[in-house]
Symmetry: C2
Subunit: 304 residues, 2 copies
């Protein structure tokens, strides 16, 4: 299964030429997950030739306008385009009221089922499971209730290494659970880790999304070792005071988080509109962590 | 005083490449009036180098998303840009609740006064007066409560034609009211029309905005003789059934309205996303009326 991340908007509160507010598409084989939906997201989707009909799940991190104001327009367009298929939206509880009130005053009765799943921002939570992926939310540290998202492919079943199974005298009735990921405990109590007995075909992919947030140690364990981390880096570190005051992260801090969480790749984004050239932000993040990409609208990341 | 109309968005519900949802700026000398504010309006303003700080008045015709979904983002950006100056919004009453609720959940306390003036859609009404212009609203005929807008320059004071004032024996104490636009009644009861006694320097300008609406005879007197009429023309006449069902106007009907209201110039817009080339709509409107322009995003009309 191919897994790609397409950046639809890499900016922050105030749009600038070429940089829209936050939105991104996590593209799995048969469907897309939309993560945040700033104003103009549907227009960016047209620009980058993305089909709203492929979106089955929408995740909204928080209710600052640059992360959700494009949602009403996108849902309205889906309606006008004749969508019949259900959509699932995960987001802060007031978002449901915002959407329902606007549909009410515009006298819009959606032709497709909209399932709203209110999120909470107090603890790590499993939101849903789709196509072999688990989607979780976790608390971030921002001015208003805000969550990050972790999308994690389930362990992929591999091939049993028969020679080793025989060597450890694994009974045949255990093969199924070992294939499903279980370790094996020998008669004398030794644990043979699953990865010794099973050769996985291709590794599972994990992606974490952290925007908007002050840097917080609490997320480190949640996002540890992910293959790809998108982390906001609104300011250069010379504006640390401004970042602290507004509960945002500097590029230097984003790099440190990637390093401390031992992720494999870091994408930074949510840049303040003051930065027309974001290379200095990338350079700053690279002081702490090697694999950094500064997001641009239209950028694609091929996770697999 | 210069008067210009800049089209920020000429499309309808679903955006297409190069054609955003409805928004336009009526640019007077020192300020702008924003008429409708579809999603992406602030991004279009950046594209066309327009400054949000110049906007003092915002008029919203109705609460279909393609006419107001850009408002929250625009107001938020004004706030973030440090605006202090008051803004006046005229629109349907539920819009106030939509804005206030979204500001509440985002914990935004605007740094500038926002004066919301609820409109009604039952009768012609004077909304406000600014820089020698009166702004009126009037009922349109759409699926939900919708109003049009009439912006009308007050009669411009001209020069008194002294020879004629003497000839008609106008007492000096009447000069002031004649300069302000009054007719003169002679001692034997004859009315000397103002325009005989006063030579106006340049004519007053009037502009009417009708979107969205089914064609309706009720507006004819309201918009009669305006210099510029913007009228929606969502469909070609071959889709009359669809236009009727959705309370929209065909290009042919828009031309007929311009002809019947004896306006001077017609701008058509709010085109359905099915029309990538809008020349056929212009040609159809021209069957009834000569001076037609099909709006494009970024187009400027110099009214004076």
């Amino acid at each position: 299964m191919s897994i790609e991340l397409h950046i639809l908007g890499s900016g922050s509160a105030t749009p600038i030429p070429g940089r829209n507010p936050t939105a991104q598409l996590l593209k799995l084989d048969q469907l897309d997950v939309l993560i945040d939906c700033g104003e103009g997201t549907q227009i960016q989707m047209i620009r980058f030739k993305q089909k709203p009909s492929r979106i089955k799940i929408i995740l909204i991190s928080h209710l600052h306008g640059d992360h959700y104001l494009g949602l009403m327009g996108l849902l309205s367009s889906m309606h006008l385009m004749g969508r019949r298929e259900a959509i699932h939206i995960y987001g802060p509880p007031p978002l449901q009221e915002i959407l329902e009130f606007q549909f009410k005053v515009s006298e819009t009765v959606l032709r497709f089922p909209l399932h709203f799943h209110p999120t909470q921002d107090k603890e790590f939570a499993h939101l849903t499971e789709i196509l072999g992926f688990d989607i979780f939310s976790f608390p971030l540290s921002h001015r208003i209730p805000t969550i990050g998202f972790l999308v994690k492919e389930k362990p992929r079943r591999g091939h049993l290494i028969t020679d080793l199974l025989k060597q450890y005298e694994v009974p045949i009735e255990k093969y199924k659970e070992i294939k499903a990921g279980a370790d094996f405990v020998t008669l004398d109590g030794n644990i043979i880790p699953n990865q010794v007995l099973v050769k996985s075909s291709t590794p599972s992919i994990s992606y974490a999304y952290c925007s908007d947030t002050a840097p917080t140690k609490e997320v480190l364990n949640t996002i540890r070792n992910v293959d790809w981390l998108y982390h906001e880096a609104t300011f250069l570190h010379e504006l640390l005071d401004r970042a602290t005051e507004t509960f945002h992260t500097t590029a230097k801090q984003a790099g440190e988080i990637a390093r401390d969480a031992e992720v494999k790749n870091l994408i930074i984004g949510h840049f303040s509109s003051r930065y027309r050239d974001v290379r200095p932000l990338k350079l700053e993040a690279e002081m702490a962590f090697k694999n950094v990409t500064a997001a641009e609208d239209g950028m694609k990341f091929i996770f697999r």
